[in-house]
């Protein structure tokens, strides 16, 4: 990789379109007027490194493979019916089809195996429990410890239980259940505007720190009383406590100015439930708040849940949910698919496009916020009707600070989704060469999408 070539004006879109032919374009081509340092990290014109972020975006109940999967691989794949809603942002992401969770002799636990297989690198073994950590937690351990929040979890469906992010079975990170709760968590008390002229730390911060350090003094005594698994849970308690100490520490210092950061107004409080239009609007509001939370460097890891596993999305006045429709709606003989259930697939794709656009709308450095993100959209099934975990729908958006090519369709031809998880970790700078368990273990990243 060559370094520090300043390229005069190249239209951003034109440039991207030019790279879509599937021709490798990593040779010395600068992109978006960003610099690359020796690690390949994007650097703003000022020289200050821009943070790289990782996120997941989840939608429940998958898609119809025959209508979703593109027919050809590479850059000029032909738009398929269920990818129409993302047409205008296709150059911002890669479509990954044909990657599967390999069951390794375990039962396919409906609406669980697909998602946790993808996130944790192996088919869950027990019917009720999942072995973590999920991908986002692995990555937040590496890049999430220096920001105010280690990660942010959000559910547009209004339940804090709707979360797939977990360190292990004992700690599932609860989701912010509404746009307002997300807003208050990030921009409520404790937020310091990095661009404010004045900075005066809250004098109570020291008091809060000292309350936490008193508690820490008890750790040894408590540990002595505990068995192995309880000790691990106590460790998690202290990990969480340290995260808050870190937050308080940060709040004592004047934050460095961030050009991309602006402080939003509180979101209007509409209804929060699983009705599709409410979910669409709450999701859009959450995406906006999240985008600014990222731009203001409050977190570098996030998990956005558009709909839950076994999607509870519903139309007003309908007695069915997306999930029940996938099982009970007859397949239309002329169309060849379930029209009512598929409506929710289209809505999910529409929401995903909104999400990508929202991150892309915030200028950062010489590109956009999205350029410095890596977002993996995924679901727990391909075809929900049969709970299939073969050929799961995956979409990877952003450029990971210049490390990922976009606009491509890659087929996994039946390989494990662990290949994608491994690629995500490597793109985020984790030093890992092999990931996953049993059949899902792999050392082969998806090289097609790497610059």
């Amino acid at each position: 990789m060559s370094t520090r070539i300043i390229q005069p004006k190249i239209g951003r879109r034109r440039f991207l379109r030019g790279t879509l032919g599937g021709v490798a374009c990593a040779v010395g081509l600068p992109f978006l007027n960003l610099f690359l340092n020796a690690n390949g990290d994007a650097v703003a014109a000022t020289g200050a490194p821009l943070p790289r972020r990782f996120g997941t975006w989840f939608f429940g109940c998958g898609m119809n493979p025959l209508r979703w999967n593109p027919a050809t691989v590479g850059g000029d794949w032909e738009l398929t019916p269920e990818l129409v809603p993302i047409a205008h942002v296709r150059d911002r992401m890669n479509i990954l089809s044909g990657f599967s969770v390999l069951l390794n002799g375990e039962a396919n636990q409906v609406h669980r195996t697909g998602v946790f297989g993808t996130l944790c690198g192996g088919a869950p073994k027990k019917a009720t429990e999942v072995e973590g950590p999920s991908l986002d937690v692995l990555i937040s351990d590496e890049i999430g410890t220096k920001t105010r929040f280690r990660s942010l979890e959000m559910a547009a469906t209004g339940s804090s239980r709707h979360s797939n992010s977990l360190r292990d079975v004992s700690s599932v990170n609860p989701a912010e259940p509404s746009p307002l709760s997300l807003y208050l968590r990030v921009f409520g008390s404790g937020f310091a505007d990095p661009n404010a002229a004045e900075f005066s730390p809250d004098p109570r911060l020291l008091l809060r720190k000292s309350a936490l350090s008193i508690v820490t003094e008890d750790r040894k005594r408590l540990e002595r009383q505990l068995g192995q698994s309880d000790r691990a849970r106590l460790d998690q308690y202290f990990t969480s406590l340290r995260q808050l100490e870190q937050q308080l520490e940060l709040q004592l210092q004047k934050p460095a100015p961030l050009q991309a950061c602006s402080v939003p107004k509180p979101p209007a409080g509409g209804p929060v439930d699983t009705e599709i239009e409410h979910v669409m609007s709450n999701h859009a509001l959450m995406a906006q708040t999240l985008a600014l939370a990222l731009a203001c460097d409050q977190t570098r890891v996030f998990n956005m849940l558009f709909s839950n596993r076994a999607s509870s999305l519903r139309m007003p006045g309908s007695s069915d949910t997306h999930h029940t429709l996938t099982h009970e709606e007859p397949r239309d003989p002329d169309l060849g698919y379930q029209p009512k259930a598929t409506y929710f697939v289209m809505k999910s794709m529409e929401a995903w496009a909104t999400f990508v656009e929202t991150l892309d709308a915030i200028p950062e450095g010489d590109g956009t916020l999205l350029d410095n993100c890596l977002v993996m959209a995924h679901s727990e099934t391909s075809e929900a009707n049969t709970h299939s975990v073969v050929g799961l729908p995956l979409m990877i958006a952003g450029r990971a600070g210049g490390r990922m090519r976009t606009g491509l369709h890659v087929s996994g031809v039946g390989d494990s989704t662990s290949r994608v998880g491994l690629t995500m970790q490597q793109l985020m700078g984790l030093n890992v060469g092999r990931w996953g368990t049993d059949q899902n273990e792999t050392d082969r990243p998806v090289t097609e999408i790497l610059t």
Partner: protein, 541 residues
């Protein structure tokens, strides 16, 4: 007759092993660290500071294991987001307690000067509040570190109460407040080195959370610290005192909230087009109605558990009137109603709470209802549907052809891969189909009459009232409650070694006319409740 025989055998067994207390020798399972539930957290704050202190904040969701959140409390940790919330709540409570509005009546002492440190006053507050919150006496070093930090802060801010706020916050975020940490120690049995028993304090805490869903009061703590819970007499005296207390209602309520999955009300929503009557107030009142009903029967009236399924009494509020189709005279609060003998409703199974909780947003679900009743009340496990069901069977399953749920579910009964489970769940669920997705009575669906006839394990019923009777008389109903209450009490699955204890408790429960407080007493005095085993050598992840 079988019960008598069983009892004879058990008695013989007991005489043989020389236990002498009536119950079989059943060593309990491993102890654990249990995270307080939201209700337990609120109770702790209320016990110490009364109801004027507001606990606002969001708790991490509980985690249900083997049907009970009580078992999940032994598995959950605290996530970063959860800890943020705990800390915010702690500061909020501490700020209220030390505020000018509350400090004089809530704090046991006043400082010599409000603008300076007063270590003597701080120490007495930390000592007494700490004992209540941490459910034990604090060590000198634990007190000292808080007094010192509070003093320094008071000097820095020239405000005694700011320092005190710090000390209180540190107690409210402490892991041994947020978790109840059970400790087991070797039992005084030289020939049985593997045998552990709960420490006196751990036993006191387990006891009070089981019976009251709150921490031990001063009397119980003092009894424990004097070592008196070690004797059968001392333990029995405290158990009887706790059972006689008004707080028992809270303990019973907490158990049934857990067993009935009532935490799921938080996420409950209904489609207003289908259910224009429905609103959040109605849902909250339906939930409260069932809990009041249960407590009234089992605690106030000391009636048998089985009668819950046949009773025609029901507390009601005005918001529930339209749902039940009855006039409610009081504009505020609860009044008691009794259904006439020919009324289609009787007993728990006809409550609106169950009907709305085990339904979809826009329609009822005989399957969800059946799964709940089988799993929670009869302790039968219903496997999940196979992943690769051939759903093409449902292709012709349009509402126009299949007007009622029975018609729609018929398909399952004819398909081998579905039948095994659906024949367990659907017949009883279909027996409740006259209650729609929010529990309103109806006789038809899409213009077709609803047929509620079915059978519960071979016993025929015609309607929900007869289904309730079938439940009341099911041989599984008592043993299942025993199993659930025991697992709830100890906060874990029962071990193989505890099976004989469960059999014994079942017999005692039947003898006592299925009165719940009697069963609680038996459990609290049982050996399984107060003893423990070593943790498994290699722990499961």
């Amino acid at each position: 007759m079988r019960n008598v025989l069983q009892l004879l055998v058990l008695t013989l067994l007991i005489v043989l092993v020389g236990c002498g207390r009536g119950d079989p020798t059943s060593q309990g399972g491993p102890v654990s660290m249990k995270r307080l539930t939201p209700a337990q957290y609120r109770n702790a704050v209320e016990d110490l500071f009364g109801t004027t202190i507001d606990v606002s904040g969001r708790f991490e969701p509980d985690s249900r294991r083997s049907g009970l959140n009580a078992i999940g409390t032994s598995l959950v940790a605290v996530t970063p987001s959860g800890f943020e919330q705990y800390e915010a709540m702690a500061r909020n409570v501490a700020a209220q307690v030390t505020s000018p509005a509350h400090r004089d009546h809530l704090l046991p002492c006043k400082p010599k000067s409000t603008t300076a440190r007063d270590d003597v006053c701080t120490e007495s507050i930390v000592r007494s509040f700490g004992q209540q919150l941490l459910r034990r006496s604090l060590g000198d070093d634990e007190i000292r570190v808080r007094v010192r930090a509070a003093g320094a802060t008071a000097e820095f801010h020239a405000d005694f109460y700011t320092g005190l706020e710090l000390a209180l916050t540190s107690l409210l975020v402490a892991p041994d407040f947020l978790f109840r940490i059970e400790v087991a120690e070797p039992a005084p049995l030289p020939d049985r080195p593997d045998r552990l028993q709960l420490s006196d304090l751990s036993l006191a805490v387990r006891l009070s959370y089981f019976l009251w869903n709150r921490g031990p009061d001063e009397t119980l703590l003092a009894t424990a610290e004097r070592g008196e819970l070690n004797s059968h007499e001392g333990l029995a005296r405290e158990v009887d005192r706790l059972l006689a207390s008004e707080q028992l209602a809270g303990g019973v309520r907490a158990f049934f909230e857990d067993l009935f999955l009532f935490d799921q009300f938080t996420d409950l929503g209904k489609d207003v087009t289908h259910y224009p009557l429905y609103n959040n107030r109605m849902a909250a009142d339906a939930r409260e109605q069932t809990l009041r009903f249960v407590v009234e029967h089992l605690v106030t009236q000391q009636a048998g558990y089985r009668e819950l399924f046949t009773s025609r009494q029901l507390p009601i509020t005005r918001s529930l009137g339209p749902l039940y189709g009855v006039p409610v005279y009081s504009s505020e609060g609860w009044e008691n109603m009794e259904f006439p003998p020919d009324h289609p409703r009787a007993g728990l199974l006809s409550h609106a709470s169950f009907a709305m909780l085990f339904s979809h947003p826009g329609r009822s679900s005989p399957t969800l209802r059946g799964v709940f009743l089988r799993e929670a009340l009869l302790c039968q496990i219903i496997p999940e549907a196979p992943a690769d069901v051939d759903f093409s069977l449902f292709a012709a399953d349009a509402d126009s052809v299949h007007k009622t749920a029975r018609d729609r579910l018929e398909v399952h009964a004819n398909e081998a891969s579905c039948r095994t489970c659906h024949k367990l769940t659907d017949p009883i669920g279909l027996g409740l189909e006259v209650f729609d997705g929010i529990g309103k009575y109806r006789t038809s669906e899409n213009g077709a009459l609803i047929d509620t006839r079915g059978d519960l394990d071979g016993r025929n019923f015609a309607d929900p009232v007869e289904l309730g009777q079938a439940f009341a008389e099911s041989p599984l109903i008592g043993p299942c409650l025993v199993q659930n209450l025991y697992r709830y009490a100890v906060g874990r699955e029962h071990t193989n070694r505890e099976r004989s204890l469960l059999r014994y408790l079942e017999a005692r429960f039947a003898e006592a006319g299925y009165r719940l407080p009697e069963l609680m007493r038996e459990i609290a005095l049982s050996e399984g409740f107060r003893t423990a085993s070593q943790p498994p050598a290699k722990e499961e992840t």
